[in-house]
Amino acid sequence: MAEAKIKGSKNKYCDSESRYRAAFRYMLLARVFEERTANLYRAGKIVGGVFMGKGQEAFSVGLALALDKNRGDVYGPLIRDQAGRLAFGEALLDAARTYLGSIEGPMKAREGNVHRGNIPMGIIPMISHLGSHISVVSGRLIGKRFCGQKDAIGGVCIGDGGTSTGAFHEALNQAAVEKLPLVVAVANNQFAYSTPTDRQFACDDLVDRAIGYGVEGHSIDGTDLSLCLDTFQKAATRAREGYGPQLVIGHLLRLCGHGEHDDASYISEKHKQGVFGRDCVDVAQQYLISSGWSNLAEIEQWTAEIQKEVEKATSCAQRESGPDPFQETWQALATTRLAEGNSTA
């Protein structure tokens, strides 16, 4: 994708010092936490898988900071949105507990890794089937509309690969028809697992899809935190003001494997050296320093604090017990009287 395609621009919508600093701290926290989970995974302390958002933190945090859970906003993160989750308000401990299988976790160890959420807080607990959470976020906005809660918006995340699903299409089209205040963030990290974008879609830029849905489109360098903060703030404002769904494409590169089991050897040097290969955390850190908004010493201090925070969360989760099958209700229904026994006759 040529740079000329980058249609976003810095409008200084929200590029304030405090916002930038806060965003950076979430990015750092996500990065350090994910590195810790990766280590725990390699040490055999986490079963299943570990999925990292390395290289996508700026884009992820950009959307989440444009949302406000206290206003009733809803957030639909996906597998690479640790940074956004934290920025939206998910407790770090929730993440640690889910990864580490603590019974105290929000999903009670029934679910693991990225499969967590908090429905009352407005975080959709993703299922694995890509694209299927988008209409769920839309539904919450429809529900809010019914309940007269006009102010809230939704933000939802998907990858380049996820745009090929029928669910993505149905949901985006439905949101456009209903003119919902929905910001759809597509993190085009150049790969879906091992599959490069040229095996995934044939348009120049996924933002070219916006017009066909009748929604507004934004396309940005997803490695630039200012641009991310700014664009999402703009998109969120447009959504809130009644301009309907906003499609935001972030161009970036996954700086890790699909999961920690994957060495991503299929990602070429060209990609890594390319325009989206830079690490958004480094970029943001340089910007912080060069703009005088922070300095190395402070960042080192943050890092130290964060490491403690992460250590605290993971060791707490590790100390907690796992689930006890004999304490489980083994009931999938809320309506207990209609539940069938699990008798094995």
Partner: protein
């Protein structure tokens, strides 16, 4: 006054909308048009903004309904035909059905499936999908056979805190009439003895209840008293009522309009033989549609599904044993 099964479904939705401001209806052509079968007739005008036309996007229809429940809504979804719910199966079975177990937050959606065969319906407008859904944990699957049940069970479905797959039978839409709608009725989860008898039990549901009743009439002329259990709900199944009936008759025939592999018949037979083996005086039998898609032509369609004649003949075999 006389009211059809279809009108009962309309009336139940009318009442649900009237009594609960959180109910809304979403589906293709359900708005001012009143739905392909007119099950939402007049409702859009009566409840402005609450009966909404959907695009042809079954996946998004169900996905959005799931989301709306988190805001307190209790959506009713109409699939234009049960058969098209295959497009939404992921949302129903993986998103809606798992939500409570995963998060502790209930997901009260009602998905109406106009189900079952009619003359000329063909392979894609005739399917009985209840047993597909029943296999997934977290769903309640209802299969009303009477006008009264269509009404009361749909009303109850909307109050249930879990996703309900409501399999209403298209063949009964116009064919079945009642004098009035019930004030109260058996709750969801209870089976009904549709006819008492002592020589054999037929366990069935939905349109097949009426075929079984006709078969029982025939058998009565031959001196046999057939008991008929209308399951009403196929998940859960009211095993107690079924076992009690088999205890009385000693003989079991299960009848379903669905395809022969697995399904309700197999599940009922498994329960009865596991839990009430000694009650049986003869091997259990079952009767299903044939193992092909559902034919368009009435000649073939009639031969494809069980009907009073084939039920009667299975019963004779069973009674001869």
């Amino acid at each position: 006054m006389s009211i059809t099964y279809l009108e009962a479904i309309q009336a139940a939705q009318d009442r649900a909308l009237a009594e609960n401001e959180f109910v809304y209806i979403y589906g293709q052509d359900v708005g001012s048009f009143g739905g392909a079968f007119k099950a939402t007739k007049n409702l859009a005008a009566k409840y402005p903004g609450r009966v909404i036309d959907a695009p042809i996007s079954e996946d998004a229809m169900v996905g959005s309904a799931i989301g709306a429940t988190a805001e307190g809504m209790r959506p009713i979804l109409e699939m234009q035909f049960a058969d098209f719910s295959t497009i939404a199966i992921n949302q129903i079975c993986n998103q809606a059905a798992t939500q409570f177990w995963r998060t502790g937050i209930p997901c009260p959606i009602t998905v109406r499936l106009p189900s079952g065969g009619t003359e000329g319906g063909g392979p894609f407008h005739s399917q009985s999908m209840e047993a597909i859904y029943a296999q997934y944990p977290g769903l309640i699957v209802l299969t009303p056979a009477t006008v009264e049940d269509a009404y009361s069970m749909l009303l109850e479905a909307v109050t249930i805190d879990d996703p309900v797959v409501f399999c209403e039978h298209k063949y009964l839409y116009y064919h079945l009439k009642a004098d009035q709608l019930p004030d109260k009725n058996l709750p969801v989860g209870k089976a009904r003895i549709a006819r008492t008898g002592k020589h054999a039990t037929v366990v069935t549901y939905s349109a097949m209840v009426h075929e079984a009743l006709r078969a029982a009439d025939t058998l009565e002329e031959e001196g046999w008293e057939i008991e008929i259990v209308d399951l009403r709900s196929i998940k859960p199944i009211d095993t107690d009522t079924v076992l009690a009936s088999v205890a009385r008759t000693g003989r079991l025939l299960c009848v379903s309009e669905a395809f022969p592999w697995g399904g309700v018949n197999a599940e009922v037979i498994s329960r009865v033989t596991s839990e009430g083996f000694h009650l049986l005086d003869a091997p259990p039998k079952r009767l299903n549609a044939k193992d092909t898609p559902i034919p368009f032509h009435p000649n073939l369609w009639k031969a494809h599904r069980p009907a009073s004649q084939s039920i009667a003949s299975s019963l004779r075999d069973l009674l001869r044993y």
